[in-house]
């Protein structure tokens, strides 16, 4: 395993997700410890840990919590964002399937810190086993008296509801998520007001990614100082990386921040499938810009190393792409996805995604015109920062990222009406 582990610390067995097994690993002892602290001290500890959000934007969790000042008598909500929809990402799924009680305990601690008495886990509808596991864990916790009534002799009690989404990419956007919980079409909302001011049911709401929340228990257990010893000073802790694509050993890996990227791919993941060469890698979900083999060579897996390279670790959904892959078709898949998932609320994304999808379809059909490349740039640019949520930007980044690096393939395709890489990938090995 690449570096030290904070979450994947136990052997996965058919029963390792149960309350019994979790308690045997020391589960819910941290909650007891947290309840003896003042809520503000819990927040202080998390802020001191420097934990960065794992949903994609790497926003400091402590700063997000700090915005929400618990007001006595006011209702506050906490939502765990388990709508893991970013293509290439399946790390939260591991937590939900194998360590659901870690999430429940973390949510109890977080709720205690933020004055929340009613929390939600918003899980994507396509998740089946993860849903059964987290719902099972919540049921177990209710039966054990950890949820629904005051715990460990304190006055703190939490209700936790697992809410299944109906399947949409924008449900993973924080404000779309809460709109979905409210029972409406998950249209993201304009800011201001921020969700920590007016969120779910118009009440202050904190929404954190499952992995971000799962780290809370560890932070409180070992203390911020110990936590900061893992990872790098600017990216403390670990990241769950879900790697897929043309890689020998795809799966979820817990990577300590600062681990060399090339080493991770070549040694931990067993190198490329059938010994193919790495063409490029999508670092963290398809909304981040692709990086070529040469670009990742000097990088380590940490925000301060990847961000200056013009990309980001995002949600940790890494996709390895082998030499011989047609990047025009790669972009086609991407844009089909964005077109399909655009909610249709605001103009640039609603029209732009469909437009880009039409252009790329036309190029792949051999009917591209030279202006198409500039048009794709222009549409991406017109979506940058103009939409209500980040989806328009994300699609633009991904498109620009691929166009910048593989423009020759697009020009070749348009000129010759066929791909530069027509062969089957399997034959390349």
């Amino acid at each position: 395993m690449p570096g030290r582990q904070l979450i994947m610390t136990f052997e996965v067995t058919p029963t390792s997700h149960t309350l019994e097994a979790y308690k045997a690993r020391g589960g819910y002892q941290t909650l007891e410890k947290a309840l003896k602290m003042a809520p503000a001290d819990v927040t202080k500890e998390v802020t001191a840990s420097g934990l960065l959000g794992h949903g994609g934007a790497a926003f400091p969790v402590g700063r997000k919590w700090g915005v929400m000042k618990p007001i006595p008598g006011e209702i506050h909500y906490l939502c765990a964002n388990a709508d893991e929809g970013e293509p290439g990402t399946f790390k939260d799924r591991w937590i939900l399937e194998n360590a659901p009680h870690l999430l429940v305990e973390s949510m109890l601690i977080t709720s205690y810190a933020l004055g929340v008495r009613h929390a939600f886990v918003y899980i994507r509808g396509e998740f089946d086993l993860p849903y059964r596991r987290i719902q099972g864990a919540v049921d177990e916790a209710y039966a054990a008296g950890l949820l629904g009534k005051p715990v460990f002799g304190s006055e703190f009690a939490l209700d936790l509801v697992v809410y299944r989404g109906a399947g949409s990419y924008v449900c993973g956007e924080a404000s779309g998520l809460i709109t979905s919980i409210e029972g409406r079409k998950p249209y993201p909302r304009n800011r201001p007001p921020r969700l920590t001011v007016r969120g779910l049911f118009q009440k202050p709401t904190v929404i954190n990614n499952v992995e971000s929340l799962a780290n809370i228990t560890g932070i409180i257990r070992m203390g911020a100082e110990e936590f900061r010893k893992v990872g790098t000073p600017k990216s403390p802790g670990t990241q769950l990386v879900s790697i897929s694509g043309h890689i020998a050993k795809p799966g979820v890996y817990e990577v300590e921040y600062g681990y060399p990227w090339a080493k991770f791919l070549d040694e931990d993941c067993g190198g490329m499938l059938h010994g193919a060469k790495l063409k490029c890698v999508v670092p963290g979900g398809i909304s981040t810009k692709v990086l070529t083999r040469a670009e990742i060579e000097p990088l380590t897996l940490s925000h301060e190393s990847v961000n200056p390279a013009g990309s980001g670790l995002g949600s940790g959904g890494m996709i390895a792409v082998a030499e011989g892959t047609c990047m025009v078709r790669f972009l086609q898949v991407l844009l089909r996805f964005y077109h399909h998932e655009s909610c249709g609320q605001c103009t640039p994304c609603r029209e732009g995604m469909g437009w880009m999808h039409k252009i790329i379809d036309r190029i792949v059909a051999g009917q591209g015109v030279p202006e198409d490349i500039e048009r794709l740039y222009a549409i991406s640019h017109a979506n940058d920062g103009t939409t209500i949520c980040g989806m328009g930007d994300a699609a633009g980044y991904a498109t620009v990222g691929i166009l910048n690096k593989y423009r020759d393939e697009f020009e070749y395709f348009i000129q010759n009406k066929r791909s530069k890489f027509d062969g089957r990938l399997e034959c390349l090995a």
């Binding site: 949409s168 079409k185 249209y187 304009n190 201001p192 077109h339 399909h340 998932e341 655009s342 909610c343 249709g344 609320q345 605001c346 103009t347 640039p348 994304c349 609603r350 029209e351 732009g352 995604m353 469909g354 437009w355 039409k358 252009i359 036309r362 015109v369 048009r375 222009a378 017109a382 920062g385 103009t386 939409t387 209500i388």
Partner: protein
């Protein structure tokens, strides 16, 4: 009171306002599609972008409709960045728009058309096929939807949620396949205010079935009027053909003197920017068959003869009673009072009662009293219910809606009415009168607010104006009205 600068003009905004509200209030124009002063802010059209100066000299571009004002803010509505952003947004909005202005009822008063000339003005840069969607989709039996023209601003959806409260509309599907659709429970068809979505639609997506392909709007002109449908007295615009565009073909004369459509005339004191569907159907109410010939005991007569006969009946009566119309204008009611004084015992009647199936009353606009000027009439003549004494020997009935069975058989009847109705022939003297669209006047609504209506058309020959008729009926010497 935050002070901010918009395009170099310093204005004082109210705390809590958005830049859009502050600018609009001070007469500074920022374009918008989805924003509406009476509806919530969805911020989805993205055309209202403005630039805000940053401390480092840069410019930050955001939508104005959701931007709270702050002290010392410097806003540009027409900077280079803003213009580029607007142009890109206009390209997106028109990308899948069919641009079928030639057959679109909205052409001429379409926000999209105006903004295209103002902020883009260029040919489409797309070479791809447009997204096709349903055309001429029946959203209800009153409203036709063209989904290809729709720009998904959601004004109509928000109207049914926030104003009419029917929740009758929603959006289905995602991305550029989104469609406005009515709820399956028929709540939109039963929405008594549904036609307002036609006005607030910034493009030609929502169309009135009754006005569909009736006229190009530039052939029409609006005349300010008051809806007589109930005692709310909503101010409306009656749209009819401009004199210079009158149709000259044989058989088309009726079209020149008909109200083609009714739209609200915004009036914060009475109806705001809305009216109900009954108001939209005024052409039906005002277009009923007219009585245009005076009658004596059911036999056609000329107007001066009928007036002379009526005058002598009034002069000879010992116990004359009058039933006054609650559809009369304040001027006519005053003329009646001035002409007859206390010579006639006057009662005010309700000309119209709620029809079966009609919304009787609600909390938005519709009032249970279906007459426009009950307040004006009762102010002059009291609010006693019509009770005709047994010994009455003359009853002057003004306006429709009175059961003639209530009149003692011996009493003579002088009847003034605008419509062709069976009662007309039963009166001893029948005099046809003009209707609201043929004269100027005022109505006073239930809350005491007086609104004016203006003449749209000339009255037919052989029809009298009540305002001049009453002095003629009362005058000893007589005289033509």
């Amino acid at each position: 009171m935050p002070r901010l600068t918009i395009d170099g003009r310093e204005i004082e905004a109210k705390a809590g306002q958005t830049v859009m509200e502050a600018a609009t209030e001070h007469g500074i124009f920022i374009p918008y599609f989805c924003w509406h002063p009476k509806l919530s802010v969805p911020g989805n059209c993205r055309i209202c972008v403005v630039g805000v100066a940053e401390k480092d000299g840069g410019e930050w571009v955001e939508i104005a409709c959701n931007m709270p004002v702050s002290e010392g803010m410097v806003v540009f509505t027409n900077s280079e960045k803003v213009r580029a952003r607007r142009k890109a947004t206009m390209q997106f909005i028109t990308l899948n728009h069919p641009v079928d202005c030639g057959i679109c009822d909205k052409a001429g008063e379409c926000t999209l058309q105006d903004y295209h000339y103002e902020y883009n003005g260029e040919r489409s840069v797309s070479v791809d096929a447009k997204v096709h969607a349903t055309k001429h989709y029946a959203l209800s039996n009153r409203i036709v939807l063209d989904n290809e023209r729709c720009i998904q601003c959601t004004r109509c959806v928000r109207f049914t949620r926030e104003i009419s409260k029917s929740n009758g509309l929603g959006l289905v599907n995602r991305a550029d396949h989104s469609l406005v659709r009515a709820a399956e429970d028929g709540s939109f068809a039963n929405d008594a205010y549904s036609d307002n979505v036609i006005d607030i639609c910034p493009v030609g997506a929502l169309l009135s079935r009754s006005f569909l392909h009736k006229a190009r709007v530039w052939y029409l002109e609006p005349t300010a009027s008051v809806c007589p449908g109930c005692s709310r007295g909503c101010t409306v615009n009656l749209w009819h053909r401009r004199p210079e565009w009158r149709l000259k073909a044989p058989g088309m004369q009726a079209a020149n003197a008909s109200v083609d459509r009714v739209t609200p005339l915004e009036n914060p004191a009475v109806n705001g920017p809305w009216i109900c569907n009954k108001g939209r159907d005024l052409p039906k109410l005002l277009g009923r068959a007219r009585a245009e010939v005076a009658m004596l005991k059911g036999k056609p007569a000329d107007l001066p003869g009928a007036i002379a006969q009526a005058r002598s009946l009034v002069a000879a009566a010992r116990r004359p009673v009058a039933i006054v119309s609650s559809w009369g204008s304040n001027e006519e009611l005053a003329a009646f009072k001035a002409a007859f004084g206390t010579r006639l015992e006057a009662f005010v009647k309700a000309d119209h009662l709620p029809e079966p199936g009609e919304v009787v009353e609600d909390s938005l606009l519709i009032r249970a009293d279906k007459n426009p000027n009950t307040a004006g009439a009762t102010a002059l003549f009291g609010d006693r219910a019509p009770a005709i004494p047994k010994d009455a020997d003359l009853v002057l009935v003004w306006g429709e809606g009175l059961d003639f069975g209530l009149i003692p058989p011996a009493a003579k009847i002088v009847y003034l009415n605008a419509w062709l109705q069976p009662e007309n022939g039963h009166a001893d003297v029948f005099i046809p009168t003009s209707i609201q669209t043929e004269r100027d006047g005022h109505y006073t609504n239930f809350a005491g607010v007086t609104s004016a209506f203006s003449k749209c058309f000339a009255k037919p020959a052989g029809v009298a104006d009540a305002e001049t008729l009453f002095p003629a009926l009362a005058a000893a010497g007589g005289g033509a009205p």
